[in-house]
Symmetry: D2
Subunit: 361 residues, 4 copies
């Protein structure tokens, strides 16, 4: 399977039907609650760079939601920033970050971690279902010449939860990998670009999938699930947090109008909004997947969260595109659909109708 969607296929304006967005949850807008909170924060003046009441409140929310009294949160503008700055603070320049060979951090961030990490390297591990396995991690450790300065030393294990291919690590799986990693002195990081979808699907608590499973820091992944202009690093390790304090500023990732970033995140996390938003994406995907199977289409696997890969004849794909459906081609005969917190049941049913027609034509 190729590494990502073919963006040149994405444009479609040769239809008279309204487009239905199934390309990416990244194409969704901001949650109304988030936008309203930003507007409400636009009162009076507030010191820049985080010395404001909204940012203080965000820390409280994070500590409550993640049940961790020392958790610290660092708003940043993008998932790439969250991942690469978080990893740079966890890995010495001569270290290696271990991750699945299909991970976003190794495939789609243009060397960001190596840049911020002063030349730290990435080592891709194999594993079924796009998941790092205990065997592949142990194999990487066994192949390492520990202490030999010819070799970048494994220093961080990074897991993508859920993966870019829609599969998920359970808390038990994260725990088991983290235990192996900690034994060898590695820190454990999670790229949580869609972690709300995973938590919602797994039905676990946010703490169970993160620090209780051994995660030292993770990217919160708010952008795809309703945030307007901010993602964040959440950090449970004070030594990493101390580095982030400086690393973010010199990377230009400390917003001067921080209140407008912080208030998005506290609204997002407060009272379960993030999990409700993710649940919409997950359940509309479940509805879509069932419908696709009813139409006789073959899924690569049952969707665990909000994305599905489906085998479809190329001629049908073309008719689907002409019908106004927006989705990505992953290669010949294979397409990807992604739902978001904005996807409605009506859209799903409409999409299934158009697909049925495309098959029939």
């Amino acid at each position: 399977m190729p590494n990502g969607p073919d963006r040149t296929d994405a444009v479609n304006d040769s239809t008279h039907l309204a487009p239905i967005e199934l390309r990416s949850d990244n194409a969704a807008g901001a949650a109304p609650e988030v936008l309203a909170a930003v507007a409400a924060a636009n009162v009076g003046s507030a010191l820049a760079y985080g010395d404001d009441a909204w940012t203080a409140a965000l820390h409280d929310v994070v500590r409550e939601v993640f049940e961790h009294p020392q958790a610290r949160v660092f708003p940043v503008i993008s998932g790439t920033a969250a991942n690469s700055l978080g990893l740079a603070a966890m890995c010495p320049p001569w270290g290696a970050v271990l991750c699945h060979e299909t991970a976003h951090i190794i495939q789609s961030e243009c060397g960001a971690t190596s840049m911020f990490g002063g030349g730290a390297t990435m080592r891709g591990l194999a594993g079924d279902d796009f998941l790092v396995s205990e065997e592949s991690l142990q194999g990487a450790f066994d192949a390492t010449r520990w202490g030999d300065n010819h070799h970048s030393q494994p220093s961080v294990l990074s897991l993508t939860v859920p993966t870019d291919f829609g599969t998920v690590y359970t808390p038990a799986h994260v725990s088991s990998l983290a235990a192996l990693a900690h034994e060898r002195g590695l820190r454990v990081h999670v790229d949580g670009a869609r972690i709300a979808n995973a938590i919602s699907a797994l039905g676990c608590s946010p703490a169970e999938l993160t620090w209780k499973a051994g995660v030292d820091a993770f990217s919160l992944g708010a952008m795809k699930n309703g945030s307007l202009s901010t993602d964040a690093i959440v950090c449970f390790d004070p030594a990493v947090a101390e580095q982030l304090h400086y690393r973010l500023k010199r990377a230009g990732h400390v917003a001067s109008k921080m209140r407008f970033q912080s208030v998005q995140l506290s609204t997002y996390l407060h009272d379960g909004l993030w999990l409700r938003l993710a649940a919409v994406a997950n359940t509309t995907m479940t509805r879509l997947a069932s419908g696709l199977m009813d139409l006789g289409l073959v899924l690569v696997s049952r969707p665990a969260v909000n994305m599905v890969f489906v085998h479809v004849d190329d001629a049908v794909i073309e008719r689907m595109e002409r019908s106004g459906l927006l989705f990505y081609r992953m290669g010949p005969g294979l397409v990807r659909f992604v739902t978001s917190f904005q996807t409605t049941e009506a859209e799903v049913d409409d999409a299934l109708g158009r697909i049925k027609q495309a098959i029939a034509d």
Copy 2:
């Protein structure tokens, strides 16, 4: 004069009068027009990372406002990001950025340019009124061993317009310095953290203070003047723009919901909004400065834009603080006032009344 305000003085809650914000334009909120535009852009879906209609429109606005058909604009989250990424794209790793010794880029960005620039260095130049002079620039060139690999090679001249101390370069001054710099093969950069205030005060066109004066790229400085969550690099040199395309992504400075960043900037620049906002800050400062002189206080110099430094007895300063005025102490007997697009004439008059009382007590 110390490098910056003493932030520990900033808190003041021991008063019954409403606080009046004169600490920094960075403490202001977002312009209502900007916020409304963000809300209006929250419709439908749009591809991430800049492949959207709002970002395309922003390029058109920038080209029109700056009268330059090849101008490109790169939204980023902060002024530090705009400066350091812009400079890194203009300077080889073995190069030196020349700037005034009091410049924000050398004093207050925690080495960001050296980090993004792969070890590029900064060389501070002297100059009256916090401005680089032709003499100091020529002196730096004369002291340089050009081509000698023991020495970082001067590669960029960066001017802060206006300076952090409220003084301004005229278009003629920028032109004259840029001509010297270009002669020696340097590129010319402007840190425009408050460039709207300078353009408004000078009454020149945006083009006259930038590319027509020899500027190759500059930081737009929207954050202090009404932006919600974005600043930007504006670039007239295609070779620099090509680097920025990659450098921003790997620095995590390409927002996934780019439409929400782009629409802020196109609203900000459209139909002169940015200059009207800056004019409010400048004219309320003029009113404040006149009032301060009427009270018998001595200004370090007449404010050219929206900040003023004033000699005040320490006992008076303390009474001013107790009266609910928010401002920065710059050292014994010296305070700084800054107005913003949100400052009103009524606030100025109220502030002057409190200062008068503090002097009298």
Copy 3:
């Protein structure tokens, strides 16, 4: 096959026979001619950092030996320095270096290229016999999203000639790969850690295996073949050379007593010394390999240069070690022998005798 020898096996002092060095050509000393030239250069005074007559002479020698009037040579202290600084000068920070997945630059240099390259990344390609194939290179190009800033852009093709596993690229193979690479705008680099052995074995001219085949710059690889304290980058591309002028100095790789480095290299390259030294290593390896086959042992492949991998029972390996033979275990039942310019026919015959005995015991 594991990535490298197990160094903990290397020590062997439990024998009464003289040790025979077959671990690595890196364990050899300096060629007597090189040492004598250094001693001869220790006369009078000479300006530091390359402004000396010996360094000027080295440039002449390089231009003559490689038949290229613009060739420039940069002495550095190690092969890692030659590779990583050469590659950093050929690759933008957002670029990727393509090489075989077993290449030394990706496996054994602790991220040096990513560090000097400002976060440039490495992409390992598959290929039989540890050689990059046209198919794997073309496949990497096909999988690349050219111009997409999410992805490190392929910028350099680096070939290890010969490979760390003793296989060799012919000039035709290098030409064919270089043509593909240049078509896509990549530069072509060779890690020539043992290039003298390859040139000697192939019987081609130094030019035919380098610039005539499309190589833009390469590491000379003098350390394993008789140099005392210097390796070098040889560069045919003036733009790369201009970068190296600065990059080497700021990496601390410009020797102050440059004359002593330069004279080693001019002696090494003059009048074919380097190729005669390499020929000794190659021919003693041929003698050794024949003898091993005569003893009934199975080689992984016939040695093209000066190293061979041989299947041997572990019990025999232990007896070989006890007999004073110095070699590396590559894993169970597999050993590596390497000859150097210092290896003698008598040593080979002695070694074969001990192996015969070890088999018999």
Copy 4:
């Protein structure tokens, strides 16, 4: 006074008298003892990268000479490498290295420390006689916003002992500065490019000028005083040494034929050779300085080690150059003479005779 000599003045071939080298101790060759030791080490084979008996012996010598049982030594190819890699291991990327504003590390290493240090910055301090004073150090601390992430945090104090202008820190001065630095959590580094000359002139022990005075790591400075191809970092702090283990390898500064580097340094340090060599440079300088004063010339100051700056009429300077004297012009009417371990009393007397004649003509 300009930052360094004008190298274009250095060439002089219009004389029939033998040249006398007084430009730089960097122009001297290798000590015969060092060269002999290298030749003697060219026996048998030895594992690469420091797993050899000569390198083990070097550690013993360093620990004995510096009276410190945990001292570790890291041979590198140049003083720039020793300084910049040592400093990078002592300073976080967001840190600042404090040093005198005329220090070699800030003026003449092309940003090496910022590059290896991931964007660490340098802050130049004022001070008479090119020496950092307690007042200027304390002033820098007072001006620092500790913990504020807008500002590079002072992390290392680096002293040049002796300075590039021939002045020296006493052990008491180093101690006093180091105590101030340690109090604020900084590490203390010495650029010892000519430290042997300082130790010899001061008559103190190597320990007294280094770790007993609070120095955590320093550059040994062997290149100007008899080494052939190696300088070194000597490190008393195990945490810094652990970093150097990796940092040097990935910077390409671990020589494969390490035995030839190590043996130079152990010979250099053994039995006081380094101090005897330095004493020759110092005493010939004393003789030269006395003679210059006898000729009525005015010295900028009495030489503490092996260099002197002298006021001379430009017409006389030209005649001195024509007489075959090799020295540097520092500006109009000012020249620099430097002696080395190779300078003889006869050369000094010969030089003084030529200067006398140049004055007389």
